[in-house]
């Protein structure tokens, strides 16, 4: 038995290692390219002769990635707290109170789970332009909040439904208002769910492309992915700088992913679960 299981274990480990290499190589390849001398053609996966951050410096200043990253961050910082607040409040009411017609309203939110950006982006451009919300951070922020709201409400409602009803009952008997119950009793318990929702929303906001491409015609206000997508069309001969820009765009979300890995993994596995 022991030899058989050992062989199985080794083949499993070997398989995992091969897959890990398949995941790492593209990232490594871009990273190595970003270290090559600027403007020179890069072939395959070459080890740089001299390590330098010149391409990053150039991407940051000349190619304007500092502005792009700032826009991305600004939008994410607007979207994440607002989504948590609105989705948390709605999820609380729909999950713990017996609202007349509450299930119907919840179903309306759930119906939006599969709305692709393609369905809303065309009229959004014309409507928002009419009220001066194109080329505006506020416009993108509002649309993203709306886009993530179905999942947010669904996620928080599921959370609040699983908190013991006796907790809410006890507080209500003590005369606590619904607001006090939410803030004093339920919110401290909801921290993990809110954190997971927060990191997922941050990721979706950071990675959003089509929406920004359409709503931000002003190059100075584009987000990092939109800027990168635009950049590809123009500077595609300067591979090292393009590679540096690519790494820069991936870096913030990767850092957040590593910092909140537990929330991320559980969110991606469970969040996807209810999609």
């Amino acid at each position: 038995m022991s030899t058989a299981s050992r062989a199985e274990r080794w083949s499993g480990q070997a398989l995992l290692a091969v897959l890990a290499i398949a995941v790492v190589v593209p990232f490594l390849s871009v990273f190595l390219a970003s270290m090559q001398p600027s403007g020179e053609p890069v072939v395959g996966m070459a080890w740089p002769e001299r390590w330098s951050l010149d391409n990053y410096r150039q991407a940051w200043t000349v190619a304007g990635f500092s502005d792009l990253m700032r826009s991305s961050l600004l939008i994410a910082v607007g979207v994440v707290p607002a989504t948590l607040l609105l989705a948390g409040a709605a999820g609380y009411a729909l999950g713990t109170m017996r609202l007349p017609g509450g299930d119907g309203v919840a179903a309306l939110f759930v119906a939006g789970l599969t709305i692709p950006v393609e369905l809303i982006v065309v009229p959004l451009y014309f409507d928002l332009r009419g009220i001066g919300l194109t080329d505006s951070y506020l416009g993108v922020i509002l649309v993203e909040i709306a886009l993530f709201m179905p999942f947010g409400v669904f996620w928080m409602r599921t959370h609040f439904r699983t908190t013991p009803a006796s907790l809410v009952e006890a507080a209500r008997i003590d005369g606590a208002s619904s607001w006090t119950i939410l803030v004093r009793v339920l919110l401290p318990l909801a921290r993990p769910s809110l954190t997971t929702l927060g990191v997922l929303v941050f990721m979706w906001s950071w990675n959003q492309f089509l929406l920004v491409l359409v709503l931000m015609q002003d190059a100075a206000k584009r987000t990092a992915p939109a800027g990168l997508g635009f950049f590809v069309g123009q500077n595609n001969t300067d591979v090292p700088m393009l590679a540096a820009g690519t790494i820069l765009v991936m870096l913030p979300i990767t850092i957040v992913y590593l910092l909140f890995q537990r929330s991320f993994v559980s969110g991606l596995l469970q969040g996807a679960f209810k999609d």
């Binding site: 299981s5 199985e8 499993g12 995992l16 398949a22 995941v23 190589v25 593209p26 990232f27 390849s29 871009v30 395959g44 996966m45 989705a87 709605a90 609380y92 009411a93 729909l94 609202l99 509450g102 309203v105 309306l108 939006g112 599969t114 692709p116 950006v117 393609e118 369905l119 809303i120 982006v121 065309v122 009229p123 451009y125 409507d127 509002l142 909040i145 709306a146 886009l147 709201m149 619904s178 950071w206 492309f209 089509l210 359409v214 992915p225 990168l228 997508g229 590809v232 591979v239 393009l242 690519t246 765009v249 991936m250 990767t254 992913y257 890995q261 991320f264 996807a272 679960f273 999609d275």
Partner: protein, 312 residues
């Protein structure tokens, strides 16, 4: 005994209290309504017009929908998206299942079922990374790997298959496959992790029972693991299929739909028709049909995956 009047009064006051909870829902619903639901309805409305986005539009009824079905370029984009489903959905799920079968095997054999693989959390973190970073960045990365001087061609040359080297993304036969494989790379890790976490929830007794019946590892996988993963399979199928049908980012940065129309997808055409070609109505009709297609698939998958026991 209470008088009817006071009873109605009490009922009314209670129902007001019941509705008061909606104050918590209102802000979320307002934003959702204004910036997602109404635009979606507006798209449906626009799809009935011929409009260039500037001058006055004219009512054309369902003509735009007819055009989506008859125009070869538009129909082709939907066909391309369906081909991408093979790469975004079927291949990752197959890869995930094979990996789950191979990795979960020792655990199920060793009985208790809790032999946690060493270093698994590190692998999990790595395998889900492609799912986390922006698809635009993934696309740029692969654009460079697929390039004429890219790693793929270098590797082919290195192993003596230099004759196979080509500009993959510009090749009429290979471009769609190349784009599809990027999706396979992105989504395989997610499927694998989804299934592996699902396997851990399976009751070990089911495996013991199967083994007592004399089931080998393959039978065990087919008759115990697969049916128990029904929920996870539905999730994987839904998420990956939507990713394929609504794909935009990867295609936009790798091929831009080319060469010719080989890799156009509906998302790309919605963008182009509305904002470069001045065919807002047609773009809207395509967007509506794409959403309906997604909705139908999600509905069917979730219907099929529901456990047999009927719930009220």
């Amino acid at each position: 005994m209470k008088r009817p009047a006071s009873r109605t009064a009490r009922r009314r006051s209670r129902s007001w209290r019941d509705y008061r909870g909606y104050l918590y829902v209102l802000p979320a619903f307002a934003v959702y309504l204004a910036f997602a639901v109404l635009p979606a309805l507006h798209t449906a409305y626009l799809s009935l017009f011929e409009w260039d986005g500037v001058t006055l539009g004219s009512w054309v009824g369902l003509a735009n929908y007819r055009e989506v079905f008859t125009d070869p370029a538009l129909r082709g984009s939907v066909v391309n998206a369906l081909v991408l489903v093979v790469f975004f959905s079927f291949l990752p799920i197959l890869a995930g299942l094979v990996m789950t079968g191979l990795l979960a095997l020792p655990r199920s054999r060793s009985g208790a079922g809790q032999g946690r693989r060493r270093g698994m959390s590190g692998y999990r973190l790595l395998f889900m990374l492609p799912q986390v970073v922006p698809l635009v960045a993934v696309g740029v990365t692969w654009r460079w790997l697929y390039g004429e001087d890219g790693l793929i061609n270098e590797t082919l040359g290195g192993v003596g298959l230099g004759g196979w080297a080509r500009a993959w993304l510009g090749d009429f036969d290979w471009a769609l496959v190349a784009v599809g494989l990027v999706g396979t790379w992105v989504l395989s890790g997610l499927c694998m992790m989804l299934f592996l976490s699902g396997v851990q929830k399976i009751d070990p007794q089911l495996y013991e029972a199967a083994r007592l019946d004399g089931a080998g590892p393959v039978r065990e996988f087919v008759s115990v693991t697969l049916p128990q993963l029904r929920g996870e399979l539905a999730v994987a199928l839904t998420v990956t299929t939507v990713a394929a049908l609504a794909s935009f980012d990867i295609v936009y940065v790798t091929t831009g739909g080319g060469p010719g129309e080989e890799t156009t997808v509906p998302g790309l055409l919605v963008y182009r028709l509305a904002f470069s070609a001045g065919k807002v109505g047609l773009a809207s009709a395509l967007g509506v049909l794409l959403s309906l297609l997604i909705l139908v698939i999600v509905y069917v998958v979730n219907r099929l995956s529901r456990p047999e026991r009927s719930e009220p």
